[in-house]
Symmetry: C2
Subunit: 349 residues, 2 copies
DNA sequence: ATGAAAGCGCTAACAT
DNA sequence: ATGTTAGCGCTTTCAT
């Protein structure tokens, strides 16, 4: 394959417009110190020749790369993709992130990094050195992985930690997991439920605790006990099966279960079917995540929607803002989830 | 934000190893003309300093960028992401593409381009000029969009056209749509069906015709008429509803329907429910695509699996190969789909 | 087999 | 407000 050089460079534009390279550069970068008439002339040449700046060259000369790197956990992502169960976290992240990037003339790149790898730092360093992104977006469980966070703190690159409350370094942004869990619990309490079970997610994710905390808080406020109503899961279908059985084996069977994600809700549905329990007649279910499968279950699941696209979009905004001012938001940014009503909750009242 | 320069450059490595820049470059690029002992010494310095070459600099100096750009249709992709119905084409493409790229030290970038935009060429030119990828992957309907293909033909960048049979330029790779449709039709014929309806996909996609052709061929071979058994859809749920009604309104009702994608199968399922038809007792259904939702329907859908991940993986291989030799595969590369048996087909035999 | 020099496209720093 | 110069990190010549 022949070597490819840039077809149209800043030189061509400069020659065509009869100005210096610098003036063209100033126009491209929207610097103020160019007379409107000059600017127009240059812009005409740019349009005429179809010139587009080379990111590589821009990056080389020390300016921005206009690249934002979103990093997800390799193991989990590949497992989701391979299972083809409709988990669409990545899609939603790209939806929010790419569109917002495009608005600002940035591009979003997507990388997989193993959170359990012995060389996480090395993996990240490689991606950063190779791509030279202007900012980085960390998703759970990376966002609170100490090795990753400490490494990033040294990099002098703005980075957002989605799903973290830690403000030591980086920019924390979370989806109000506690608030969402409260929302779900409150919704059930309002409908006359008092025996509300909760299936927790993997302890590797901090958000798992926050969700438990939200449920606990509402139960306490309402004066209901939580003893024996908390079951530990790890977000997998299997763990959901075990957790649901544990809860439904209680002498005093819960009338409702909140599960920390859709796979565990699916498992709860299956256990209910095993035992001949009608949903929502005998057992109400509220799910977390609102991934595509909630439409297809029998009945469709009432669920907490995680605003992933919106969060990714905000993350991009925060990075671009951080590039300019060194000022970071003092408190964690919060994007609230919402409850989507479907058919899996009974009104006991 | 302070300006960031590369932390460790080839200079540091050269100094540390006590050799010239050039020697380091040769080691990085695995050129043969370096003595093993030199090579070792340099490699040790690289590892010690944690050096990673800057893609920007490599690209600037005229070598490869190690970037492969996958381009999808913006409108359709965003519609799928927003609908959250579990369409996972993008995920499967990333799964196959990213992993294969990683194997070869490449990275996959992902871009959205509007196939109906008046300035498609401009959109593509921008992405190419900015990113300077070593190769490009076109997906349907871009793969057969004449403006896009003609533009790419001029670019001197190897590009793969997924879902195209056209060998004029670029590298065609397809998923054997005709063969897959034959597979589905044959499967039904073998189980005693003779009135087999077919719901076609959008004519904007060439693969729609090939699927129809496969069905027709099997029907002809079996000596069955196809008159009135073909309904036109456009891949949307709505169009599926209309198409299914048209087929099921026939005096001689089909005993089976093949739908060109999952959304239209879902619609067929719904129409069957409306009319009180049991699936598969009264009507068998075979779907195309095998996206996540096939697991969740009642009954789960027997479907043709489109090997998207495998195809993307092959596409990457083809691009990397094309970079070296100018030799392109003479005939279109074909990756075959398979039929996944679930519960939506009745055996009449 | 190794090294030195030139240049890729662009911008920061310094003129004017 | 505009132009000139130097240099980013790397690879391609072209020497040796």
């Amino acid at each position: 394959m022949a070597r490819r050089r840039q077809a149209v460079t800043i030189k061509h534009v400069a020659a065509d417009a009869g100005v210096s390279l610098q003036t063209v550069s100033r126009v491209i970068n929207k610097e103020p110190s160019v007379r409107p008439e000059m600017k127009q002339r240059v812009q005409r040449s740019i349009d005429k020749l179809g010139y587009v700046p080379s990111i590589a060259a821009q990056r080389m000369s020390g300016s921005r790369s206009y690249l934002i790197l979103a990093v997800n956990d390799r193991e989990r992502t590949i497992a989701d993709w391979t299972a083809r169960q409709g988990a669409d976290w990545v899609d939603q992240m790209l939806l929010g992130g790419m569109l917002k990037c495009a608005e600002h003339g940035y591009r979003m790149l997507f990388e997989l990094v193993d959170t359990h790898d012995d060389h996480v730092e090395r993996e990240l360093a490689t991606a950063i050195a190779a791509l030279q992104p202007d900012g980085l977006i960390l998703t759970p469980p990376h966002s609170d992985n100490p090795r990753i966070v400490e490494f990033m703190a040294k990099q002098n690159i703005p980075f957002v930690r989605i799903g973290s409350h830690d403000t030591d370094c980086g920019i924390a942004i979370s989806m109000d997991d506690e608030g969402s869990a409260r929302l779900a619990a409150r919704y059930l309490v309002d409908r006359g439920h008092s025996q509300i079970g909760f299936i927790a997610g993997s302890p590797e994710y901090q958000l798992s605790e926050w969700r438990v905390a939200g449920w606990r808080a509402v139960m306490a406020e309402a004066g209901f006990a939580t003893e024996g109503l908390l079951a530990q899961g790890d977000f997998s279908y299997q763990s959901g099966l075990a957790a649901a059985r544990q809860l439904l084996d209680r002498a005093e069977r819960p009338t409702a279960i909140i599960a920390s994600n859709d796979q565990m809700s699916l498992a709860t549905l299956e256990v209910a079917r095993e035992r001949g329990l009608d949903i929502p007649g005998d057992l109400s279910i509220i799910s977390f995540d609102n991934t595509p499968l909630v439409h297809f279950t029998q009945p469709p699941l009432t669920a907490i929607d995680q605003p992933i696209a919106e969060t990714a979009s905000r993350a991009v905004d925060l990075i671009i803002a951080a590039q300019k001012s060194a000022e970071l938001p003092a408190t964690p940014v919060v994007v609230s989830g919402s409850l989507v009503e479907r058919g899996s909750v009974a009104d006991l009242a």
